[in-house]
């Protein structure tokens, strides 16, 4: 079940991100599904799964992005790792617990992009028009997905 789910995610998340998600964009900003996926896999599946899927999804995202060929790979791996660490120490997780985790990781990922030069010279404009809206968007999607998945995967412990 789990390998199938992961293969499905590898084949599906980036195509959805580049095509369908464009309709959900608010002021040109879309949620980063790869970030949310790496985050939730790390949280539910553990540190190792989080890193592996973070590397795979990030690498794939780099292939279909105009940015450098390493930025998503490294940020998503670190996000999977961090979410895995958080998942190990949080005994009773709720959507409210997920809120600071996704928000914090999304903001850190955005800062990494800014350091990599993605914002050009307009750093403040990039923070205002991409980093913060995307962090909010990622958090909302992350909490929603957590709410849907939590019951199923926490109860039967199939991903832990």
């Amino acid at each position: 079940m789990k390998p199938l789910l992961y293969v499905g995610l590898v084949l599906g998340v980036v195509p959805i991100q580049t095509t369908v998600l464009d309709h959900l964009s608010v002021a040109g900003v879309r949620p980063d599904l790869c970030l949310v996926a790496a985050c939730l896999i790390g949280f539910f599946g553990g540190l190792a799964d989080g890193v592996l899927m973070g590397v795979l999804l990030g690498f794939e995202q780099d292939l279909f992005s105009a940015g450098d060929a390493w930025i998503n790979l490294t940020t998503k791996a670190v996000i999977g790792l961090s979410a895995g660490v958080v998942g190990r120490y949080v005994a009773r997780a709720t959507p409210v617990t997920v809120f600071p985790m996704v928000l914090g990781l999304s903001v850190c990922s955005g800062i990494a992009f800014l350091f990599a030069g993605a914002g050009g010279q307009g750093t403040l404009a990039a923070v205002r028009s991409v980093l913060l809206p995307q962090a909010m968007f990622d958090t909302a999607v992350g909490m929603g997905l957590y709410w849907i998945l939590a019951e199923r995967f926490r109860k039967d412990d199939s991903l832990v």
């Binding site: 195509p15 190792a48 690498f59 105009a66 895995g84 050009g120 010279q121």
Partner: protein, 287 residues
């Protein structure tokens, strides 16, 4: 979690750690390695991407029809359904006619364009919010390479930054990391076109003595960026001439509507290569 990791997973984790450390220690070499590893994966992912792109287009049409049908009055349901069906068919035909017209214009333009081009379809947007880019359905197999210019009938679109066998990624001129040398058509003053995070375009380094004014068209200079000379970029909407500055800066309204990109032309050779004249028939030897 580490206790429960299997041998395979440990090997995979070690590979990931090696890859990540390579990225940091040898950034340039690892980029080449990542590109080589990524090509087969990109080809595999391009398939669901293409399918999703088509499904997305069809779903939009179906949703549009559903919304239209909800307004149908109960009394004339049957008749209105028929009308809607015919309307749907008419809309399909109009869409096909529009697509035909667009492609026809594209072909005519391609035939007369001051460059050799390859037509491509936009199948997706950049996978992150950080770059203004689009994904094309053509790649190295069709002769597309990095740094080639991309344009439409109306003007310059951007440049190719990544290529795979059957897809490529284009960085739009609205991206802050993109720069295209351009000139103001009326005054012939050169400058550099750069994107902004708001999705607009600015022309920098316009000479201080230039008589540029609002409404002046801006075209590509043909010097860099993979574009032939004279491709429209946009129209100047605002000029900033600050005291103490060595250059003027202008806001430019792009000619292309980047939210509605469907088909584009990739400039494979910026200047048209004239076909060599047919070889003259050999003179007959006199007896």
């Amino acid at each position: 979690m580490f206790r429960s990791t299997s041998g395979t997973r440990r090997v995979l984790l070690a590979l990931c750690a090696l890859l990540l450390s390579l990225v940091f220690v040898l950034p340039k070499q690892s980029r080449t390695l990542l590109q080589a590893i990524g090509k087969p994966l990109a080809d595999i992912v391009a398939l669901p991407l293409d399918v999703l792109s088509s499904a997305d287009h069809n779903a939009g049409e179906i949703w549009g029809r559903y919304v239209a049908l909800r307004q149908v009055h109960e009394e004339n349901r049957q008749l209105r359904r028929e009308i809607e069906f015919l309307r749907g068919q008419a809309a399909d035909l109009r869409e096909m006619a529009a697509a035909n017209q667009r492609l026809g214009e594209l072909l005519r333009f391609q035939a007369n364009a001051p460059a050799q081009t390859v037509a491509a379809r936009v199948i997706g947007r950049d996978a992150t919010n950080w770059y203004h880019g689009v994904v094309l359905d053509k790649g190295e197999r069709d002769g597309i390479q990095a740094e080639m210019g991309v344009m439409t009938l109306t003007g310059a679109v951007g440049r190719v930054v990544k290529t795979r066998a059957s897809s490529s990624v284009v960085l739009l001129i609205t991206d802050p990391n993109n720069a295209v040398t351009s000139l103001i058509q009326r005054t012939r003053d050169e400058g550099i076109i750069e994107g902004t995070f708001g999705g607009t375009v600015r022309m920098k380094y316009i000479p201080l003595l230039s008589t540029v004014r609002v409404g002046d068209p801006v075209v590509t200079s043909g010097l860099t960026g993979g574009f032939p000379k004279g491709v429209p970029v946009g129209t100047i909407t605002n000029i900033q001439k600050d005291e103490g500055e060595l250059f003027q800066t202008a806001d430019v309204q792009p000619e292309v509507d980047f939210t509605k990109l469907e088909e584009v032309l990739v400039v494979t050779v910026p200047r048209r290569v004239e076909e060599p004249p047919a070889a003259l028939p050999a003179e007959k030897k006199k007896p």
